[in-house]
């Protein structure tokens, strides 16, 4: 495998051919905010938070899907990028019904963390207050669409890791919603194995365990790395939750 040298934020790094910019940045602790990306799942480039500026390319490109190239000069943050990231989080905040004070995932929420990370002070867009539903028909878990950010991690983990493909996206645009099966109640799903992977990878309080009270729903994502390493390298190593 060939080695590629690239410059990120003025510093030179070497990377393996075929690696993404995001992966290189992560290895060297360069902070790039992400939401839809989760190590172990396929990359979809949907949240657009990780867009970076690359010299010689007029478009902004997502770090998660852009592969490193020899001599690439990448900027992971500047005034424009930071502003756009703040705007994306603001758009998410205005889109759903996110009320941290009464949320099960308060203090354990990636959306909340991202808002701090990008420096979101206020949302200048009108809140849409959409009428969303809540599915509590499953015996162990709840899906609260009010808090869903449509990152599709649950869809991917269920399809790619568990192999059940219980979840998918229905509708278009602002009316998109995650559905169980062919838009059935989760409790009636014949494919769901109740493994709980979707709950654990969900970045917000949209998917949570029944019985969790405010701030009590802590997501344990370490299992994913554990399973993936076991499958790919045949090694069963304990990986602490990060």
């Amino acid at each position: 495998m060939a080695v590629k040298t690239l410059t990120i934020d003025g510093q030179q790094y070497s990377a393996q051919e075929g690696e993404s910019i995001l992966s290189v940045a992560r290895q060297h602790k360069i902070p790039i905010p992400t939401l839809c990306n989760l190590e172990g799942l396929s990359t979809v480039g949907a949240c657009r938070l990780c867009v970076v500026q690359i010299e010689g390319i007029p478009k902004l490109l997502p770090a998660c899907t852009t592969k490193v190239e020899e001599g690439m000069v990448v900027q992971t943050s500047n005034v424009k990028l930071n502003k756009y990231r703040r705007m994306i989080i603001a758009l998410l905040a205005s889109e759903g019904n996110h009320v941290c004070a009464v949320c099960v995932a308060n203090n354990h929420c990636e959306l909340q963390d991202l808002a701090y990370q990008v420096g979101l002070i206020r949302v200048r867009y009108p809140y849409l207050y959409p009428k969303k539903t809540l599915d509590a028909t499953h015996k162990e878990y709840v899906m609260d669409h009010n808090r869903c950010v449509l990152c599709t991690r649950c869809v991917r983990v269920c399809d790619e890791v568990e192999g059940a493909h219980v979840w998918d996206v229905a509708g278009r645009g602002i009316n998109c919603e995650i559905v169980t099966g062919l838009d059935a109640n989760w409790g009636n799903s014949e494919t769901c194995t109740s493994c709980g992977k979707c709950v654990m990878v969900c970045p917000t309080g949209a998917l949570f365990e029944k019985g969790a009270n405010i701030s009590e729903m802590e997501k344990k994502k370490g299992f994913l790395k554990y399973i993936i390493t076991a499958r790919q390298k045949k090694e069963w190593v304990y990986i602490a939750n990060d």
């Binding site: 478009k59 998410l92 449509l150």
Partner: protein
């Protein structure tokens, strides 16, 4: 079927046609069908039967005759007389007066010397309105499938690609990437199977170019695809057509069947080693499926969501295999280029934009219809000479090209040559060829709002900027149009537009703000007229309240 058989068939058909004294053509494309051309054709046939003229006359359904706004259209081919606004009564008169007594039905005759007809150059539409769109024999009689035979028998795949590259043909779907280069990339890509895909998911409001080509001359598209298959080494093609075009799908199906029967598609085409199959895939009504990666997902049977590029479909397309995607009009240009040579084609048009472009003229314009003009023609010629200007008593304000991804061109740019680069310079795009003409009665904020609502409804919802951004841009435009917005909202609007444009995942989101940005560029005053004055009334209210205390 060999080349000799093809020529024999062509001569036989020409002979058959010359034996007929009159060929009466009626437009059987969707526009004229919807205003009653089927009744007209029935009346023509009944009258012919009544007067026992079956031997010398034939009535033929053709593709679009161009002047859609004046349909149904009927053409008597022997003396090139075009009748417009034909109803059943006129149809009967055409037989009784024109055919039997050689006296034209003057009040319905369309003036074919006017610029609408005279200023056009037809390559893509050369057979539209000339031949029976449901007969492969008539297509062969006008040198159909000759280019395919030439490509298979006399040309190496690399030579075909070189010929297309030299012609300077650029993708007619909107972005204008060099067709020859694209073919070259796919032909060099590694993969055990390669695919050809024809993008017939024409969804721009006001656009009907691809539909007319498919309805009027489906074999031309099949031939173009087969030549592409030979050039890049593909044995399977798909036409992805939107379900809203039932007539186009019906004619395509018929055309594929006819071509397969004659050995012009399928296995061992023209008795060579080349195999090429074409199947039709029908869309389910999503505009975003016109975006190539979403289109491929849809063909694979998945939800039509775009994917990040790279990898481009030319490396990893359908089922991970190298895939060539071209628009209907691009494929329709292939056969004439191979038949007449790249030099002939590159003599038409401008330095960087070669050939012709089909436009669908719509909006407040006198001659609504389908036109084909050489690249580089001034916009003024299209709108005022060919289009006949705006409707009675109004003044031209702007032309919108490129649909929801394009922009407005105001009257100060009327002398702009219509080619890829010039349109991009004024903030619009060539697009697939929809041209909506607006007059002084059009309100630009409403226009922007209409297109933004379209994009908001058609966003797939995958990426956040497009899903939520278009919703808020629409909300802000709505607020402005209701005179409730302030200068602050304008700042928000412009910020959001730039952000959605720069960060969205696919072409839909990246170009969705264009109608807003281009109307802001040329008609900012119309926005500002609708704004609330800076919140002075609140300040004075407080002052009064303080005073009253």
């Amino acid at each position: 079927m060999t080349l000799e058989d093809l020529q024999e068939l062509s001569e036989k058909e020409q002979q058959r046609q010359s034996e007929k004294k009159h060929r009466i053509l009626y437009c059987s494309a969707a526009g004229c069908v919807s205003c009653g051309s089927n009744k007209v054709s029935d009346a023509l046939r009944t009258k012919i039967k009544e007067h026992a003229l079956e031997k010398e006359c034939e009535v033929i359904g053709t593709g679009c005759l161009g002047l859609c706004g004046e349909g149904p259209l009927v053409k008597v081919q022997s003396d090139n007389t075009l009748y417009q606004n034909v109803d059943v009564r006129t149809a009967e008169q055409i037989i009784e007066l024109h055919i039997l007594n050689n006296k034209k039905v003057e009040q319905y005759v369309s003036d074919t010397t006017k610029p609408f007809f005279a200023s056009q150059t037809k390559i893509v539409l050369e057979n539209c309105g000339m031949i029976n769109s449901e007969s492969i024999d008539e297509y062969i009689a006008v040198r159909g499938y000759e280019a395919l035979a030439k490509a298979i028998n006399d040309m190496q795949p690399a030579e075909v690609i070189e010929e297309i590259r030299k012609s300077g043909l650029r993708g007619r779907g909107g972005a204008g990437y060099s067709t020859g280069l694209k073919w070259g990339i796919v032909s060099k890509a590694q993969g055990e199977q390669k695919y050809i895909v024809c993008n017939a998911d024409e969804g721009d409001p006001g656009a009907f170019m691809d539909r007319s080509v498919l309805e009027g001359d489906p074999h031309r598209v099949l031939e173009g695809m087969a030549i592409a298959g030979h050039a890049i080494g593909a044995s399977q093609g798909y036409i992805y057509c939107r379900a809203e075009y039932p007539l186009a799908i019906e004619r395509l199906k018929l055309a594929i069947k006819q071509a397969e029967k004659m050995g012009l598609l399928g296995n061992r085409i023209l008795e060579s080693q080349f195999n090429f199959r074409i199947d039709i895939r029908i869309g389910a009504g999503a505009f975003v499926c016109g975006e190539e990666t979403a289109l491929l997902q849809s063909i694979e049977g998945k939800r039509g969501n775009p994917k990040p590029r790279p990898p481009y479909p030319s490396e990893k397309g359908l089922w991970g295999m190298p895939t060539l995607i071209n628009n209907v009009e691009t494929f329709a240009n292939i056969a004439p280029i191979i038949r007449n040579g790249s030099e002939w084609f590159s003599n038409i048009g401008t330095e960087k934009s070669k050939g012709t472009k089909v436009f669908a003229l719509a909006g407040n314009i006198r001659n609504t219809g389908l036109i084909e003009v050489p690249m580089g023609i001034p916009l003024r010629t299209i709108i005022f000479d060919i289009g006949g200007g705006t409707t009675e008593g109004t003044e031209f304000k702007a032309a919108q090209t490129g649909g929801p991804s394009g922009g407005c061109i105001p009257k100060e740019h009327l002398d702009l040559p219509v080619d890829y680069e010039s349109l991009a310079k004024v903030g619009s795009i060539m697009g697939s060829g929809g041209m909506i003409v607006m007059d002084s009665t059009s309100k630009m904020v409403e226009v922007a709002k209409f297109f933004m609502q379209f994009c908001m409804d058609e966003s797939c919802g995958k990426c956040i900027p497009c899903r939520v951004g278009t919703r808020h841009i629409y909300g802000l435009l709505d607020k402005i149009s209701k005179k409730k917005a302030t200068q602050d909202d304008m700042v928000l609007l412009e910020e959001l537009c730039m952000m959605v444009k720069e960060t969205s995942l696919c072409g839909l989101g990246q170009s969705a703000p264009n109608p807003v940005l281009s109307t802001l560029r040329f008609f900012r005053n119309e926005y500002e007229e609708l704004l609330q004055p800076v919140e002075t009334f609140i300040a004075s209210d407080i002052a009064v309240a303080d005073f009253e205390k």
